[in-house]
Symmetry: D3
Subunit: 290 residues, 6 copies
């Protein structure tokens, strides 16, 4: 007598209740304790699920339906408030298990630091892994005012882990001079300000490689994503971000996992950011998982 | 690998996933299509569940814990948008089934009209049923500008169905003169403005009888419940409403079902109304179900 | 083919479209240019009208209906933005005309300075005029940082105009020490913190006198009136303010005009303050005008 | 002594109080009872009028002033809450009367279902009627979970009524696969994602024909119209929508009526959507009515 | 040429720029990384200062002015994001220095965990220290889901440090059964639900002792303090909290330090909580420091 | 023991506390008393400073850091509420002093009228001054409903003062027909709707001249700047505005002063406008001051 969960907002719309049948596993990482500015992204995954009931299952962009795909919504990983190290360990462990069972991990943040343990787990499985990173911020700090576990450091960590030349950042419009310099000196790719055009240029070079895609919602202009911790003017539109996802979907790269982070419902007064995020999740699933 | 639902905000905190083991069934009635003023209560039940994760399981008022009770959260009844008659039929049918299986129905609205089919189903089972009604509004209209299915009519309907003298309204501070006159002429009890004191007086008269308790959150002052469709100044405090629930809990009446309606998250900017509602649900469960 | 204005939110609910037939004239004074803190009360009168469609015409407190009364809603006086002196002159002139035609003026602010020209016009007609003033603030400054036309000065101005001993302030919980001292030294009445009890004591002394009632919505606690320029904790409830209005209504004083000021919709996120104000206007009309 | 209505926010700025003198009749359809997601558009027309006081009467786009045109603002049609069928009948009847008196009907919603009875009335008068439809959503469902009267069905209804090949949809980015398929199979025109460029191509084909223009505000990206029921990322800008209106204005089509629907002030925290809608109404009047 | 800081919102209104001349030091502890529910209190101290410009310097409750007192506003202690242990150490160190220089520390949170290092520093100086604690929550957990550094543990920590019988909690309405049991078994005082009356009874027993007062703003009902992390219905009014502060001020206890925590501006849509907090700070200063 | 001001939100991030060492002086003009629509920009400068703590000091657009520049943040000029004339005089006097000491004045409004006294002071120093004006509105009225001191008049005033042919407006999309006509007849430059392209064309003509740049934040589309008094659809993006500033920075004009006005935090629910404004201030400093 429990009413249909798949259309209740408790799970992402249309999710398959059977883990074993599912190729994709959608999971939340409700952590926001290292952010230097506005917290609140812990509630992002829950709100994205909730508003997903407003989505159509069909993508007119990709001419494909959610019914064509099996995905399981695992809910949010319970993370210990205020303990970044333990949170990171729990995430790495969880994603490691998903990969061992050959699932496609599709994560929802939470602050961007959550992507670090995920990418580490991905790198353990995929030796030739490349990262496609869309963000307003470099996230290349070594530490933030002394703290190495910070939402400003995940891309630095993965770049050092798999080699900076395997990391491709797009849409970057904010960072310390030292971060841009470090990227340059170490052969890491940064496309400033724009995403779609440089992506078109770069994708052929990544053809055939396993790629993890990490999207910080603040790559969007604040007009398109007010509901995030650190808004930064001069960003791209949601139309451009959709087109970028579709560009990857149609390319020769082999997307092996992805995440979307930093949705903070507290600042999202008309829920536009959560709605946009939930559409992006649909397009990422339909576009990245064949 | 699905993370624990009972503490996820997807169901009311601590809910038992097993329907059969549960005495209480919590269910949502997400309908708001007949309201004459501000719609939005369709999202009430979902938000009450979501914020319930902030609740303690223990009531220091009643010295009792949610662990002492088995309750199942059935989710929201799927109701057809814009079709009041069919919605009402679906609710009556559903509650009838719960009663047939000897459950204690605890409903969450939605607009107040949803209480009408519930009370009708209750009356079918309990021949001597009395209604305790807490509200800012009489809800005694025959119709609203020609529409008999309206959020302004449920108390009139049940009063005509079981006899006006079996209906006890408290806290009423708004209505048409005709409604107050009708109540008076037909022997229905209305306590204007106050709840706790008149309730203390009235409860002994209802001792031993099966009682259904229907609470419109707008019995609270707008200061205590801004998140509702029709706010009305001069109401009671949340402290008084809690005390009124406890007064019933400690009385000799036999509560056989209850609901809490008209929480509209859209107007509830700091989620105070949803949080209050979720605490009220806890106290109603712990107080009404022995 | 224009749909019924009286129930449109364009005028206060139930207003009579005929000025001549009407005893009461409701008018707005949309001025907020001298406030020292948060502006926005210029939109107060319009929003009070708009939400009045949610009101019942019947008062269960006074057992009287709006249908029993003829009142005209004149709309908002067009006031020149940023020019306090000219605004004040226009208001005084307008209210003078209403009084000449023997209307009962019921004003809606706007900042509290608008009450000064109204009270001056009242004093010109009623020689023995007394003022009942409910407010969080003394409003007894001579000037605000050099500006004599300020929302902090209207009560000082009228007190000097008709004599401080004819002014009775209630609910005051904020002001400079000099203001309280000035009141004391000049025989003006101030009841600190409370309204209802001191009013009960004071009203018999005013029996038979013409009285103007000016209510700053911030006499209410911020819980009950967040939508105002200068909120101040420790105020009274809306229940107490309603009771105070009813106390005056049942007393022997002769209310000859009234206003309600400082509703600022911008800060009133669930419109609770505007709804409360619109109920207060109804009770003032039904209680003060026989 | 009533202050000038034409600049009060009670009617659309500059409206002529004389119905007979007016070519255009502006009217509201405050219905939102069939929406499947977020209700609240019932308050759209009132808010659009209210904020219209911030508009200039002059359009620098069209070099034309509102003074050049006579338009009457009829207010909102009183519609029965929760009764879609009766609401629809009232609207059809009203617009039929306007057309009989040779008025240009300019409607404001309300949910999109309100356009169905309007278009039906238009089709009764104009035999060769074509529809230009701008929207994020196809609105081509036969029913929504069993309900044929739904905000998801109006374009299907008019397409079946006047023939699908006479309906031209632009900007569509959401719908069920079945809806897109139905359109394709039945010769209905759908331009996905874009409005301006396909419109330029299509308008010459419609030259000389009577055209009704129906705009769902959600054709705009959520960045440009957060205040609507169902936001959907990837939409057009307000600049593009203005240009599209101007493109129609300068074309050879004969616009015989128009509407703008789905503005929901509740989600419009800075009133940007209402302000945009009010500018769109001005441009539609100045552009469509010669 | 820097405009006057004391009235700019950069420091608490009327603060003395000279640290040495000042008896009181006001300081912020902008930490919120261990909270289990809604974060955001890191911005509390800054907003309290900002809105303090709306305060009068005079207290009509205590008949005393801020001019009578020298207080320095030190700004916010820079705390490392996401590192609770280091944050706590920095706070303890800072307050230790203040006490060494014989200042009266008046802290603003931040989450309640910040009070733990402050109370520890106080206990190091004052051997017979007692704690007066006003809160909705017991805060007596040993750990929160394994984390001993949590906003749910500060009172447990200080109780174990100075002995439970030296801790007096008031207004408590939420906690685990185990927490209430622990208090009872260990001789700690808890007054459930109420503050003022039990305080009147308890204060004489504390006469002459050094007392630290820690106030969690959520001791107020959500109606009076929506802007906090964990709202809980059934609380006291701001009038009662003011009266409780005045009761302490007039008692024989020797207040040696105090704090006010958990103001979270993000949820405080009309800034009412921040305004209330800033008034409470004024009354605490004027009442506690002779 | 005062914690570092430069990173506290009390001053713009990275400001030099030494006035004498600083080339740039940043100052606020917190005036909003003449606005005809929504007030609140008085709080703009304070909020821009507050959110500046979220900024990086480095501009990847200009490859320059704030550390390369000395700028002093003078705070807000104390202006008399409700007295436009005196406010204007105070501003003119203050900026005159800055210019006498050879500072680069960088002002933050407040309503646009504040730019008038600034430009007047600039014109007194720079005989060949030209104005670059970016705005949605012409601001060319002689008076607003009789008031010559209005937020609708500053560009008219400076145009009459230095000659209309020295004033260059960009992005204009709103105004009375008379204003556009006046500009045309008097040789003033107006680029309608667009900023970047016409600026590229115009800048070479201004090469070598002293230029004052005044930016009304509402030149941005409401999507990019909801937090302002008068939003107007069809505006430019923040990306275009940034590019326009950079275009001026790279041109041959000699920028001698600048301002950014009309940020109104009250309508800026996710603080996106304030964040954008603070980034614009950074780019204006780094781009305009060599």
């Amino acid at each position: 007598m429990r009413f249909d969960e798949a259309y209740s907002g408790n799970v992402f719309i249309g999710a398959n209740p059977d883990y074993n049948e599912s190729k994709v596993v959608l999971y939340g990482m409700p952590m926001d304790w290292t952010v230097s500015y506005r917290p609140g992204s812990r509630f992002g995954p829950a709100r994205i699920r909730e508003v997903s009931i407003g989505l159509e299952e069909y993508s007119p962009y990709l001419d494909r339906e959610l019914f064509d795909l099996n995905y399981y919504d695992a809910g949010d990983i319970p993370l210990p408030f205020g303990n970044p190290q333990k949170s990171i360990d729990l995430i790495e462990d969880y994603v490691g298990k998903l990969l061992a069972e050959d699932k496609f991990p599709l994560g929802m943040g939470g602050e961007h630091l959550v992507s670090w343990p995920v990418m580490k787990a991905m790198a353990a499985k995929y030796k030739d892994l490349a990262i496609i990173h869309m963000d307003a911020h470099t996230d290349l700090r070594e530490h933030y005012e002394g703290e190495p576990l910070s939402h400003s450091t995940p891309i630095r960590k993965i770049a050092e882990h798999i080699g900076p030349k395997n990391v491709y950042s797009f849409g970057i419009r904010s960072g310390m001079k030292e971060e841009f310099d470090w990227a340059k000196e170490n052969g890491m790719h940064i496309s400033k300000f724009e995403v779609l055009e440089p992506l078109k240029e770069m994708l052929p070079k990544l053809a055939g490689r396993p790629v993890y895609v990490t999207i910080d919602i603040d790559v969007l202009d604040p007009a398109h994503a007010p509901g995030t911790g650190t808004v930064d003017a001069g960003g791209i539109t949601s139309k451009e971000l959709l087109a970028s996802i579709h560009e990857i979907a149609r390319s020769e790269v082999n997307v092996v996992g992805a995440d979307l982070v930093e949705v903070a419902p507290i600042y999202d007064h008309s829920e536009q950011t959560a709605n946009t995020a939930s559409k992006l999740i649909r397009e990422m699933m339909l576009g990245f998982v064949k």
